[in-house]
């Protein structure tokens, strides 16, 4: 499912191809720093506890409370900063999980005998026919709510899409001379996969994974928006956005800042995805044919 979104930037990226690598790496470094601080030490940015209530309830944004306060007087700036953790952990770990599983399945299917390949790929087709959010919801129904369940949900829901792309590339690579040569010289299937195919797939896998992060952030926040992620009073962009929706007509800032945070995160994730694609794979031959 994520693939259509993942392939759309391919084309946009190709046109914007004159982006300088140095600028892209700098952006990546700055973002990585922000991500690490947001996950490991949000206290460096926000000095108030995100759960501390106060007398100043539903206050509009001001010098004292940059993003205003909610119905319990909690500082929305602090909640927005601390809320980054669960979203980023869920989407980054989820994508990492899906990438690992997708590569493993794709490699195995691509190198497997024909009958086994069609069995695996038909199963992948079945999973691709069930929407990502639906798979995630079902998994959360079985595993319970919380960040760990969202990681698993994203990991499982994104795996079929990755497996599809990797399998297609493996099949293409299999007929290339050096792979054929390795097999002829007695290299085992496993060794060929790990020593010859995997390194050549790395670029594609990194690009694929990065492009999926934006989509994963959307999925993670949708799930917590539905109340299936971090439980209140702990801060979380999705659940804070949902909570703020109740006060929409009177206190616009409650829903707006978590929402803007999600938008900005997806924006940056997509931008990095596009940049990485142009930097790592200048040819970017992936066609957006869809299937």
């Amino acid at each position: 499912m994520a693939l259509a979104t993942a392939t759309a930037p391919v084309i946009a990226g190709r046109q914007a191809g004159r982006r300088r690598p140095a600028a892209s790496w700098a952006l990546l470094a700055v973002t990585a720093a922000i991500v690490i601080v947001a996950i490991a030490a949000p206290g460096l940015i926000a000095h108030v506890s995100p759960t501390a209530t106060g007398d100043d309830i539903l206050a509009a944004p001001s010098g004292a409370h940059w993003f205003g306060t909610d119905q319990l007087g909690r500082d929305m700036f602090s909640r927005t900063v601390y809320g980054a953790g669960p979203v980023l952990i869920a989407s980054l770990l989820g994508v990492a999980l899906a990438t690992a599983a997708g590569v493993a399945i794709g490699l195995a299917a691509g190198m497997a005998p024909r009958w086994l390949n069609s069995v695996i790929m038909r199963i992948v087709d079945v999973l691709l026919a069930i929407p990502v959010l639906m798979i995630a919801l079902i998994l959360i129904a079985t595993a319970g709510s919380g960040v760990r369940s969202i990681v698993i949900a994203i990991g499982v829901a994104f795996t079929p899409g990755f497996a599809r792309v990797v399998e297609a590339s493996v099949r293409k690579l299999r007929s290339v001379e050096y792979v054929q040569a390795a097999l002829v010289f007695g290299s085992t299937t496993a060794r060929t996969s790990l020593r010859h195919l995997l390194p050549n797939l790395m670029t594609e896998v990194i690009v694929l994974g990065t492009s999926a992060i934006g989509w994963a952030v959307l999925t993670a926040t949708t799930l917590s928006f539905l109340g299936l992620g971090v439980q209140l009073p702990q801060p979380d962009w999705g659940s804070d956005l949902a909570a703020g929706a109740t006060y929409l007509s009177t206190s616009w800032w409650l829903a707006t800042f978590p929402g803007l945070a999600i938008t900005l995160t997806i924006l940056v994730a997509n931008f990095i995805g596009d940049s990485l694609m142009t930097v790592l794979d200048p040819r970017a031959q992936t066609e957006a044919s869809g299937r």
Partner: protein, 307 residues
Amino acid sequence: MAAFIARRLATAVPVMLGITFVAFILIHLIPGSPARIILYGSQATPQQIATLTSRLGLNQPLWEQYARFLGQLLRGNLGTSYLTQTSVAHELLSRTPSTLILTGSAMVVAIVIGVPLGVLAGARPNSLLDRGARGISFLGVAIPYFFLALLLVLLLSVRLRWFPAIDNGTFAALVLPAVSLGWGYAAILTRLVRGRIIEEYRSEYVTSARARGCGEGRILLRHALRNSSVPAITTIGLQFGNILTGAAVTEVIFGRAGLGSYLATSITSKNIPVVQGAIVLIGLAYVLINLAIDLIVGIVDPRARVA
């Protein structure tokens, strides 16, 4: 063409079977026995739970249970809801039209905004219009539909009072949900179509059309756009499942009575037959839409019939 249709149908059958299996196996994946979920809160004795388990047929061999599940499915029987003891098929089908209308409207929004914007941007790369379109679509992909929905409600319902924020059955009430859901997919389509049009303009048949004295408008619409239409159509088909689940979430925001809220409560209350029925229904819709899209692509692009 007939052989092409037959081949497509043949590949759809195993996928559909697989989806029914996923739906079926769910009953054994969810922790806690179904009998316990049904009898929850009634101080049931182990005896009662055992009786109900055997009445539900849950102690038979797995393949027998699956065969029975399939048999019921083919007769249009999706079982009864654990909570209300009503027919799941009836409950689901009565809520489906509303969700499908929203899904369809969002797709229309996506196509009506995305395709023209992509064509205009692609025809004049790096023009002011192209930059604007690129900016809008970059933002469109990034902004979550549930956040856009709230922003639109804040601006167009609360402040300007143009559209109702809560569903009242009118067409006006459909506008905000459809726009907020369709916007992101419009952005995806804009990027896709723009890229394709630029690509097509570089190809030799466009040069040759120009050499023959073909007008620019004709080149754009009859040649470049037509050749870009296949990836755009397939993308819409692949996104159908996401738009459908997005519609379910959007429904909850706008208080629309559809599959969304019903499914959400069913998942949290472990009302398994409803979830199973929804998986089969959504899976079937996805398979049918993509079958239809394969046929459309087969009509638009005769080469696709061979591969």
